[in-house]
């Protein structure tokens, strides 16, 4: 093996190395600018125009905030979509995430067959949401589905807007639980066993140990889980798109953006306005997250 000289800072790098390092910084930066920032800024700018996606963009007229006022005031699916996104967030946050944590705690106790359970619960995470939508279709289908075959009911789980949001949420949670379980399981394995022992010596009960000692120690994981949950709720899209293109009780902001922009409607400006609203909402969460992370690092 060749002996390498000790690294003494950038001044000591050979010109070739400097170029390599430069490229290693420049290329990812350019990619991020190009794939993330440019489209994001372009969306925001487009949201002030009435571009129909046909012909050069110079043909678009700037119409100020009209798209935004239309979205909020006269576009009937918008407010249900906001409501559904909030329900989605609440359900993931209050039901799916705690349930994932609960499963992680159970599995962390090294029960017999815990590996099998672990795999079984994690399995849906590997599947795409589109596929999950299809799998659950087999269960929910009005005429051929498992539920209706077994119970003899004729409820149209995906078609009836009284049920379809909850049916979709159950399918989404099925996947989310596995994801959260794995994150917490990793977190729990990382907790220093001596902390638990110390708590036990001090006479703390199982429950107190968990809530007072183990859970607070996992603070970084908690933060990640919160962010993951919020992001999952905001970007919920594939599942409902597979079910019915986000219509009829399954409106979500993301599906409205897509059906306005991508479909033959091509209301690029109008759809961009909704995309921008989504961007602002997500930025709030991202900013909160970054603030907490920065504080911790200091």
């Amino acid at each position: 093996m060749a002996r390498r000289p000790k690294y003494k800072g950038i001044d000591h790098l050979s010109p070739v190395d400097r170029v390599v390092v430069g490229l290693m910084i420049a290329i990812p930066t350019l990619l991020v600018l190009w794939l993330v920032w440019l489209p994001a800024i372009a969306s925001v700018l487009l949201s002030f125009t009435n571009w129909d996606g046909i012909g050069p963009i110079s043909g678009a007229k700037v119409i100020g905030l009209k798209n935004y006022s239309d979205v909020v005031n006269i576009y009937p699916p918008f407010w249900p979509a906001v409501q559904h996104n909030l329900i989605w967030l609440a359900a993931l946050f209050l039901v799916a995430t705690p349930f994932g944590l609960f499963l992680a705690v159970l599995l962390d106790r090294e029960l017999r067959g815990s590996r099998v359970f672990q795999t079984a619960i994690y399995l849906p995470v590997v599947l795409s949401l589109a596929l999950i939508g299809f799998i659950w279709q087999l269960i929910y289908s009005r005429d051929q589905g498992l539920i209706n075959q077994v119970t003899g009911s004729t409820i149209d789980w995906y078609g009836d807007q009284r049920y379809n949001l909850w049916a979709a949420l159950l399918a989404a949670s099925w996947r989310h639980v596995g994801y959260i379980m794995l994150l917490y399981l990793a977190g729990l394995k990382g907790v220093d066993p001596s902390l638990r022992e110390a708590a036990r010596v001090d006479g703390a009960s199982e429950r107190t140990t968990f809530f007072r000692v183990v859970f607070p120690v996992m603070a970084p994981i908690n933060m990640i889980v919160i962010v993951v949950t919020v992001i999952e709720a905001l970007r919920a899209f594939d599942l409902v798109w597979v079910i019915n293109k986000g219509r009829n009780g399954l409106e979500l902001i993301s599906t409205l953006v897509t059906s306005n922009i991508v479909g033959e409607a091509s209301r690029i400006g109008f759809g961009s306005a909704m995309a921008t609203i989504m961007l602002i909402v997500s930025s709030v969460f991202v900013a909160l997250y970054l603030r907490v992370m920065m504080k911790e690092q200091r």
Partner: protein, 448 residues
Amino acid sequence: MTRHASEADYLASLVPPSVRGVSRRTLLRGAVGAGTLFAAPALLAACGGDSGSSGGGKATGTVTLGSNQSDAVPKAAVQAVVDAFQKANSGLTVKVNTIDHNTFQENINNYLQGSPDDVFTWFSGYRMRFFASKSLAGDVSDVWKNLQGMSDALKKASTGDDGKQYFVPSTYYPWAVFYRKSVFAKYGYQAPKTLDELKSLGAQMKKDGLVPIAFGDKDGWPAMGTFDQLNLRINGYDFHVSLMAGKEPWNSDKVKKVFDTWAGLLDLHQPDSLGRTWQEAAQALQQKKAGTYILGSFVAQQFKAGAEQEDLDFFNFPEIDSNIGADAIDAPIDGYMMSKRPKNQAGAAKLLGYLGSADAQNLAVKADPSVIATSDKADQSAYTPLQKKSVEFVKQAKSIAQFLDRDTRPDFASTVMIPAIQSFIKNPKDVDGLVNTIEKQKQSIFAS
């Protein structure tokens, strides 16, 4: 990528292949452009399918044909026509690129601005004229010079705003109320002539344990057909045209009356319609669980050829207002268009000429007997009874509309009317609120 990632790339593609060459600059321009927002829709469009082909400006070579006829029966019909064309023109090969019907329709803007196939399936109506006026479609006036047996009405339906033809009609099909003869005979039903007769027939069917009107609106467009029928009967053809053109207010009493009348019929419709596709609803009719179904004659695709299709019959949607009558119908025309700059123009023109001919249409309607040929020269002796009746039915109609989503702006049809009609089906009580929201959105969209 088979489709262009950006406007720059698209513009580059307009240069003929012989001049273009592949320079590094073209690649670079494409790459830079791809970073802008054009990337997202174009990437999605790229999933649409492969459209690569070779061939210069000769009358031989390969012609690409983009087809939205993805259902089994019409797909076979396209293939039958293409095979016959290739047989007759040994120098030409046609590469059929079939794309799922709904996907094709939804990606049409990106498709046409990317590298569309030389010839592609489309419909007559507002959107055909719209693409022509946006320079996304090729002028086929020369093809029309040699077309025979096409009526003036068809020519008008194929003409863009600039007076040139952009569309070659192939087949069409009427919308009506379909039923099975055996079911009507078994219970002694008569085809209703008025709305009241329709209602009492529905009530009788309910007593007999049938769903009076099969109904499925999961995809959002089939219910537009019901709206059209009611609107044509209550307000007439001229009103339909102005309403679709955005010239009439949607919150007028006339439109309200359409929705109110529909609300009175809704309990005759098959329930839970928003989770059901038209195919599933058609099967309710086919399985004799439903008495009637308001749909286009393509409903026959869900019936087995032969005895089962011969059992299928239809009647005109009954008269509602005797001043308006019942002589206006929906009969959308399907056909073909040429892309703006086909890679094989001579071949494309030849193919289009053939597609508009009686020979090609004979094959098409034979393979898919749920539609009828547009050419007068087409051989009607081989028609099924249903096709013969369709021809009669279309002939007796005084005015022929296309269809709600073909007669109006696509953005209005898909982002306003689909959610509006679905919300009406969910909650038929708030018609006032409904028509007001439609009108507000219409004003905003038609103003842009």
